[in-house]
């Protein structure tokens, strides 16, 4: 049996179409309603409430906690202030990305790390000789993500404290109906949003409080289909979809470095020694072979391909997660790994790996589309990421 998250008693009651899916051994909702559309729009117009409890969470404590993390991840953890959150990948010795997640500095010597994959072994392997305690708190910590323009107003009401001073990628503590919570201004939607971390035993208190005060603000429990659309618009990577973990890759070609994923900004090459540093330095010097970019499929071109067979353009109603070839002048120069029709932007967008020379915004290329069982190519162009970046995200 798959496990149920601490919020399952509430989420199960909302489920209209038995649309569950797996996430890290748990069942979570793909969509609560029969269509995910309203759940998606809540992210951009009101507030969507996601159960993100299946994330792996680790507490790393002790005098050398920062040193351990600095040894593992590419960002500079020593420079991370108390109350700050870092998004970061971590790599193997070849500089190939193993996973990506967040590191929150809860106090001088305590960090919480989130990961998509189990990481306890990797943390321990690299902790030799360091004064740290590593604890897997995945099961005892529940997490909710409240995303959208009304997220702040709702959360302020629920925890009774102002949050306007809480900056992007910072965290604070508070109480919801007497239950202690950590609130981080983070998320996976590219919108104004917060994640609430709470003891699993009292998780329902937070859910109930948020839903109750949020109803007048349009709070809408939302599933993974809505989240997937939002993260495409935000240009955020998904492990095992947009890249393969170096720990899972079967052949070398399946792996990627942070530079190849356009995550160069997360690589602090000059900090103290970290795993993959030498390889990444060398790669930085010669330049990465690949870039991770946004792609917009040209509407007129797509419309023409469908008109050729007498159809109006067919668009994906949910985000897709397959590998789709990209071409320039008949030569394959890359592949898209995620894509969707953006209901907000009215654009057909995708996230893609392209050979470095084709990574500049504006570069014209073609994407394979299957029109009535036949492979065709639609005009497309490289676009800067994120596709959607509202001011409220950081304001």
């Amino acid at each position: 049996m798959l496990r149920e998250t601490p919020f399952h008693p509430r989420t199960a009651a909302l489920m209209e179409g038995q649309a569950w899916r797996r996430w890290a051994g748990y069942v979570v909702a793909s969509a609560y309603e029969l269509s995910h559309e309203r759940e998606y729009h809540a992210v951009r117009s009101a507030a969507a409430l996601f159960d993100v409890s299946p994330l792996y969470k680790y507490l790393i404590r002790g005098r050398d906690a920062a040193r351990l993390l600095d040894r593992i991840v590419t960002r500079d953890v020593a420079a991370c202030k108390v109350g700050q959150v870092l998004y970061t990948p971590w790599c193997d010795a070849r500089g190939k990305v193993i996973d990506d997640g967040t590191i929150s500095r809860l106090d001088e010597a305590t960090f919480r790390m989130t990961a998509a994959d189990p990481s306890i072994r990797w943390l321990h392997l690299n902790a030799t000789g360091l004064d740290v305690a590593i604890e897997d708190v995945s099961e005892r910590t529940a997490a909710l993500s409240l995303q959208g323009p009304n997220a702040r107003a709702i959360l302020e009401l629920a925890c009774g404290q102002p949050l306007s001073a809480l900056r992007y990628f910072r965290l604070t503590t508070g109480k919801i109906r007497g239950v202690p919570v950590t609130i981080s201004r983070t998320g996976y939607t590219g919108d104004l949003g917060y994640e609430v971390w709470i003891d699993a035993g009292q998780a329902l208190v937070a859910w109930d409080a948020l839903v109750e005060v949020g109803t007048g603000y349009g709070i809408t429990p939302a599933g993974m289909l809505a989240l997937d659309l939002a993260r495409n618009e935000a240009g955020l990577l998904l492990i095992e979809v947009d890249y393969i973990s170096a720990h899972h890759a079967v052949i070398d070609a399946q792996t990627s470095t942070p530079f190849e994923l356009s995550l160069g900004w997360t690589v602090a090459l000059d900090k103290e020694r970290f795993i993959g540093q030498d390889a990444l330095r060398a790669e930085y010097a010669r330049g990465p072979a690949w870039r991770f970019v946004g792609i917009e499929i040209d509407w007129v071109s797509l419309e023409r391909l469908y008109a050729d067979v007498g159809l109006p353009p067919k668009l994906p109603t949910t985000a897709w997660r397959t590998s789709v070839p990209l071409y320039v002048g008949g030569q394959q120069v890359g592949y898209a790994t995620s894509g969707c029709w953006s209901p907000l932007l009215k654009r057909y967008i995708a996230l893609a790996h392209v050979e470095a020379p084709y990574g500049e915004p504006g570069t014209a290329l073609e994407m394979e589309v299957t029109v009535e069982h036949r492979r065709r190519r639609a005009a497309a162009a490289v676009r800067p990421l994120p596709f959607f970046n509202p001011e409220r995200k950081r304001a």
């Binding site: 029969l34 559309e37 729009h41 907000l344 009215k346």
Partner: protein, 526 residues
Amino acid sequence: MAQTWDAIIIGGGHNGLVTAAYLARAGRKVLVLERRYRVGGAAVSEEIYPGFKFSVFAYVVRLLRPEIIRDLDLPRHGLEILPLESTITPMDNGDYLGAWGDPDKTRREISRHSPRDAEAMVQFGRLMHHMAQAVKPILGMIPPDPTSLSPRDLLGLLKLGRHFRSLGPEHVHALYKLMTMSSADYLDEWYETDVLKATKSASGIIGTFLGPRSPGTAYVLLHHYMGEIDGSFRAWGFAKGGTGAISESIAGAARRFGAEIRTDAPVAHVLLKRGRATGVVLENGDELRARIVVSSLDPHRTFLQLVGESELPDDFAADILRYKFRGSSGKVNLALDELPNFTCLPGVGPHLRGAISISPSVDYLEHAYDDAKYGEFSRHPYMDVIIPSMIDPHMAPPGKHVLSIFVQYAPYNLTGGWTDAKREAFGDTVVDTLSHYAPNLKQAILHRQVITPADIERITGLTEGNIFQGELALQQLFFLRPAPRWAKYNTPIRRLYQCGSGTHPGGGIMGASGRLAALRILGDGR
């Protein structure tokens, strides 16, 4: 120093703003002149009662062209179209008919009334899909004049001819029927459930001075299905922040491309020199010069008021005088302390996030029209009701609501004319009728705004309060909109263009007229 512009756009409604944005995007120096204190025309959101925002006039967006959203990058300027996916029609026997976003749910619901109709719906939908696809390209083209021999017109006609040939005889025949029949007759060929036919035909009468049994109304059904083709890319629904947010986003785009927008700047008339437009004179006497003048106002305002009948060729003036407006609808906006509780579906539910149609039978609608034919507002009007605050909570304070009621028929030419007393009586009729289905409505009302066609005309300038800048009747469409030979956004006055809903294709918040006008102007090298 006298400033000159490449183009002056008269009127800051959504079409005027679209034209302005496209011209500015092409590098033209553009000035928009709006009479009111804010842009938007009939697509405005206003806080009529503290804390409650109303889409005062137009309240949904059905066919805003996705290419406009993309070309002008409107989401960056705040545009978001939210789904409005269900329609319920309360019935007099206490039951209701529902159409939901989910096809299985809808089929099961219609089966409850008639299993035969539930099956017909699929076939009907397929045919209408084909019809809408047949008509859709026409919406996106500058109408060619079938009597002209100019290469541009011939090319357009050739394209159109090829297009119709590609449809195949079956669809051409169906299209002909759709163009000539009444919506009630047309739907009779398909369905047996009265309330279903009534609700579907209601979409064929919106904004016209016609009833469901008037020939020509079947065609307007298509507009609804065109929304459904676009359904996959959801170009219709409810604009977050109300319809004013659409206007504001287009204005934002226009400004970003460099256009200047002046509000409180009413234009008195178009400046003419030897039959050529050279600028405008504001009501305050200021003269502003431009290489071209583009009017987004309706054909009466543009030609009879801003230009003057004496400046127009006789036959053209006669055509414009004959052009029909006949506003037939009004609007009631309510601020509510609590949600309306419908007897047929009590409590809060997803039905309150969609449309509520007061169209219990075809006879009900036809009777409503009967009143209007003889100069009265309907004693039992057709109403299209939505609760914007259920879709976008920003429209009202938390826990409170706004209710938008589109009402038909309310004839512009009311016997004895519209007075304050008549307006209130009209408002009472609307609230009484709706209270019949939701008895708690009256006690929940915090504020009531009643808008008659005369108010629409007074506030927005739309002649006779017609929401489409002239009826969407077949004799006023395509190469006849607004007048034969002048349906391509140009006018008999050189350097004066038109870009409002009174030009092809017109109607609703589409922006297609504004965009096509801009393409024509740029095509002329202006």
